[in-house]
Amino acid sequence: MTTYIPLADQPSELHDPHTFIAKYVWSQDHKVIAIQYGSTAVFVGLIALVLSGLMRLQLGYPGTFAFIDPSDYYQFVTMHGMIMVIYLLTALFLGGFGNYLIPLQIGARDMVFPYLNMLSYWFYLLSVIILLASFFVHGGPTGAGWTLYPPQAILRGTPGADMGIILMLLSLAVFIVAFTMGGLNYVTTVLQARTHGMTLMRMPLAVWGIFVATILGLFAFPALFVSAIMMTFDKLIGTSFFMPAVTSLGTNLENSGGSPILFQHLFWFFGHPEVYIVALPAFGLVSDVLSTHARKNIFGYRMMVWAIVAIGALSFIVWAHHMYVSGMNPYFGFFFAFTTLIIAVPTAIKVYNWVLTLWHGNIRMTVPMLFAMGFIFTFIHGGLTGIFLGNVTVDLPLSDTYFVVAHFHMVMGVSPVMVLFAAIYHWFPKMSGKMFNVTLGKIHFWATFLGTYAIYLPMHYLGLLGVPRRYFAIGTTDFIPESAQQLNANITQAALFVGVMQLVFIFNIIYSLARGPKADGNPWEATSLEWQTPDTPPHHGNWGEKLPVVYRWAYEYSVPGVKADFVPQNIPPEEVEMLPGAGKYVDRSEVHG
């Protein structure tokens, strides 16, 4: 008789690597790949952080820094935006946390296709190298803005219009290939490599967020790929997919008749789902952190799952709210404003459920919890201004002002980064086996949380005053008072402060890796499977001899009558220790999951 071995057990794929190179460089272990992805992403993220500091220096003190000319400024803006959105956030959430958490949280030994997973990382690294190479080519990196709108993106006069833009497009194409390889792996693993008892409706929300975001990514990135290919031909061969007839620097170019708005539609058909490719994993991760540290089950688990799915589906039909001022048919605006406001409904459900999870919880103010609660603040804040901007009539006057910069940095910058920090602090003990320094973590939180408010709150005000974004220097105008410049300088001071304070985080991580106290396998007393591994950090294959068996959902906290205030997913009901006289343990999975 042959025995049935579920895919989660991966018998034929598991060859234990012994050499250093096989273990840590050409590794096929999802945990190592996750850390490779994560550290590469943090590395490019730091570059993007420095770029934002340079931008703020120019904006806060125009004319003071001779080494920043307008071209440099636009190159900083472009590279900052592109790196943060794609190469940091997307890569860190999906390549980093997706890789680390999916197999561990669903009880598998590894991803279904470990080799493809390894290729995915190396393609990602290649895309980062190509991107960074553009700093060193003639003309420097592209300065077309992170949206790379043609015709200006590929015309002379825009910084980096020669090699910079080509390397950018190439790098994006390679990134998409890397993402597709990783993404196929994540969805297949979630669908087919779950351990015994792990139904879809028992999965932690982190996996749900990553899973749906991956599907979004698989179907949204092709739009960027298509536009990158066509723009490359416009640039290199002189086709006119997007290029209208243009007179550039006195000469008529060969292009004619192309449609720049077509590019914008393609770009934002990718670009808006991209917001949720970043946001959905953040929603998932923060749900797990909140529930664990509030010692309470997540409020409305099923609703949370369906909200993730609904947001994912809706995110494909809101893209043109980025284009109200593009010159597209104004009637489109009505439709897209409508869908945009509808997407606020499932999003608001999630926010209410997070708050209700905290309600009457036994909250432990740990460092990850601080960041998770910080996220609720920043996300509500950024979300509310999104409702302003989703309406065409409000968006038109505000679209080219700092109000938009403030909005998307609150909702798409600060909020996911808050979750990233929450998640890094939360899972650091599992990933490294060491505990971080709590005091430094708290200093990092308060500096980041208050600091980012000091940056972005005044920006809303500047935007309402009419201070335009994308400008190298505002100069003197009739409608912007002198005092606005003072505010701008203050924003720069806050930005530099927040930037420097991130060194506390980097120091904390490196110091704790080397000298931190040894962490317990389950320091937060959490229920999900990754905290129940026999070793910390988990060894190759994750689970030792036998895969865990799952009996319930991941949110069994503070169950009445149970001795401990949490019941891990893999403890059989009959082994749950009860308080004297409390009777038998009743599995709430039947009720909730």
Binding site: L7, P11, G183, L191, F269
Partner: protein, 207 residues
């Protein structure tokens, strides 16, 4: 594969259909081997990719400077080649499924050669067009012709890479049953790309 059923299947359980005579090979033990699931998602990705190209085609077509290209007769021959490539791979797959491994070498070889013929034919069609003065940058219709056929041919080459690997395994003595999955995946991928090609061909011919 029914996507909804895939969502609700319990991957840790043996599915009733495969309960008897189960192979130990884990990927065979599931009703849907993971490679098949991944391929389905990949076909979705490829479908979106071409769907967006086609959307862009329709948008761009409406603008004034669009001059349709003449149709190349070669494309008809290529279509026939790809059609039979797809049919032969399907035939090979169904023979394997019924335990007749004898024809796997011939089937794989013929299917691949027909496809190579298709790719070469597309390349030849490019040469014809260039010789007739229809360069890529002359007109957006030309640009789309080269881009669409080029991207499609690249996807075909990707399939041929998998085909080559399966071929190497068969010729180096792997039991034909063990390449059954690879042959099946090739057949599915070929059908899909044939379908994509038929849509593209119709688009290029009638607009």
């Amino acid at each position: 594969m029914n996507p909804l059923r895939a969502l609700f299947e319990k991957p840790w359980q043996r599915t009733p259909q495969t309960a008897d005579g189960l192979s130990v090979e884990h990927s065979q033990a599931l009703e849907h081997p993971p490679q098949k699931t991944a391929l389905m998602f990949f076909l979705g990705v490829v479908g979106v990719l071409f769907g967006l190209f086609i959307t862009a085609y329709f948008v761009r077509m409406e603008l004034d400077d669009w001059r349709p290209m003449p149709e190349s007769q070669l494309l008809w021959i290529n279509t026939v080649l790809l059609f039979f490539g797809s049919v032969v791979l399907q035939w090979t797959h169904s023979r394997l499924k019924h335990g007749e491994a004898s024809s796997v070498k011939a089937g794989l070889l013929l299917g691949g050669l027909l496809t190579l013929g298709f790719v070469y034919g597309q390349f030849a069609a490019w040469q014809d067009m260039r010789a007739a003065g229809y360069y890529m940058y002359n007109n957006p219709a030309n640009s789309f012709f080269y881009v669409l056929t080029g991207i499609h041919a690249l996807h075909m080459l990707g399939g041929l890479w998998v085909w080559t690997r399966a071929g190497i395994r068969v010729w180096s003595g792997t039991a034909p049953e063990k390449v059954g999955l690879a042959v099946e995946l090739c057949a599915v991928y070929w059908h899909f790309l044939l379908l994509v090609w038929l849509v593209l061909f119709a688009l290029l011919s009638y607009t």
